[in-house]
Amino acid sequence: MTQSSSVLTGTTLIRRHPNLAWRKYGDEMIVVTIRNSRIHKLNTTAALLWEWIGNASLSLEALIQNLVTQFEVKKEQAQADVEKFVQHLLDAGILEIILSRKNG
């Protein structure tokens, strides 16, 4: 399943979209979405999420936990940030959802 408009929950599994090209130049992470040839420059937070996801799939919960651990932010704040940036990256076709379950 690959959708960009799903409701994001902690168990949502995401990965990098397979049709991308990317490079990091200094602090700049550049991603090209092949299907529309658009070039995207990821900001620091988005680039961090991108690197954490790597070549695997990761749940939102894992990303939130990483943010809490590494930056000592409150979980609510981390969750809001992760959901916001993941949604941006999904909308841009940079990430895709591979599994989405409703909580509870």
Binding site: I30, I34, N43
Partner: protein, 385 residues
């Protein structure tokens, strides 16, 4: 997250840091076509890079920051391991372009192109009919296979464009080729740039079109619509001070692992079988030389009155005359034709090719430069030989 200035930002970063951003990698010189104007010059007895060597090269390119990567040949699909190479490059995050003749892409393997996720696929077509293309490619049946391949790729939404080199033998056909591109719904680039072979052999030059035909080509408003005159630089753009990207942000690697500034500048900087790519890129004398020269160092081209109409190629100048900084006859001819067409459109008066003269500027240049070099390319360029 998106911005129209990202390319400029990238350009700035890569030029300033001399990052190897763009590489053309020839994977093989083997080809199932034998095109009359082919510029490749295979060397007998030399071995192509193995799959392991190609992968190592790709790892090194990624490490150096290379982003845009063109796989070319020969015919890339003549390598049985091509799809493995392509997939590997994709996993390393390269933005990949494939140059192919398309004739080996079939229903059976077209899905494997998708796994490479290329930005685009450039397919060479020498004519709009099977009779013409197959004769010039010396490959019976290839035209219909190529058209089928284009349709297969389009079905899978792979971006395809046609490359139509224009020669004496097919110039009459370019309008039909452009129309074929429209019918297939793919962009089509027709270009009358026929070059020497990469070993300097001038054999392909016999297929170059005449100056008069070149002029008529540039006059064609289907090629250059009114208001889009064939000068090199749009009015709001400044000429780069560097000669070109070769050695600054770009390089080429041939099937034997030789690293060069560009496929049209076959000066071997090193070989990846003997040396780390980073070492070649940072320290090879030819790369350092290219980084140290600019437009100001050019010989006659520096003050040529047609320089704004010239897409001067230092590699071509080198291949023609052994001088990176000198003129290349091919581009002198193109610059002259572009200038003439632009003037015709400004004045509304057609000037015949044989009436066109460089005399006043030539006199000036003679006085200015006091040239004393041996140059075989000056029939049309603005120097004194």
């Amino acid at each position: 997250m998106s911005s129209p200035s990202i390319i400029q930002t990238l350009d700035k970063i890569t030029v300033e840091k001399q990052t190897l951003f763009n590489v053309l990698m020839e994977l093989t010189y083997r080809c199932n076509h034998d095109c009359v104007m082919c510029y490749n010059a295979p060397e007998k007895g030399r071995q192509e890079l193995s799959l392991t060597e190609v992968k190592s090269c790709l790892d090194q390119l990624q490490e150096l920051g290379c982003f845009t990567l063109i796989f070319s040949g020969g015919e890339i699909l003549m390598r049985k391991d091509f799809f493995e190479i392509g997939r590997y490059a994709h996993t390393l995050g390269f933005a990949i372009t494939l140059f192919t003749n398309g004739s080996l892409i079939t229903e059976k393997n077209v899905h494997r192109i998708l796994e490479i996720s290329p930005l685009d696929v450039g397919i060479t077509l020498l004519g709009s009919t099977a009779e013409l293309h197959d004769r010039l490619a010396k490959s019976p049946g290839s035209f219909s296979r190529i058209i089928h391949a284009i349709e297969l790729l389009k079905e899978l939404q792979v971006r395809v464009y046609l490359k139509g080199p224009q020669m004496k033998s097919n110039l009459f056909d370019y309008e039909s080729l452009l129309a074929l591109g429209k019918r297939l719904n793919v962009p089509c680039e027709v270009s009358p740039l026929i070059t020497t072979k990469t070993d300097g052999d001038k054999f392909p030059l016999q297929y170059r079109i005449s100056q008069e035909d070149l002029l008529n080509f540039y006059r064609d408003k289907k090629i250059y619509p009114e208001g889009n005159e064939p000068s090199l630089l749009p009015p709001d753009m400044e000429r780069d001070s560097q000669l070109c990207e070769a050695g600054i942000t770009g390089a080429a690697i041939n099937p034997y692992g030789d690293v060069m500034p560009c496929i049209q500048m076959p000066i071997v900087a090193g070989n990846i079988r003997q040396q780390a790519l980073a070492d070649i890129w940072r320290n090879a004398p030819i790369f350092n030389k290219l980084r140290g020269i600019s437009d100001e160092d050019l010989h006659e081209c520096r003050i040529c009155p047609y320089k704004d109409y010239c897409s001067r190629c230092p590699g071509m100048a080198y291949l023609e005359n052994g001088d990176l900084l000198g003129p290349a006859k091919l581009f002198c001819q193109h610059a002259q034709a572009k200038y003439q067409v632009t003037q015709e459109r400004k004045t509304g008066k057609t000037v015949m090719a044989n009436e066109f003269s460089l005399s006043p500027e030539k006199t000036y240049l003679r006085q200015e430069m006091n040239l004393s070099h041996s140059c075989s390319s000056c029939e049309h360029c603005a120097c004194s030989h």
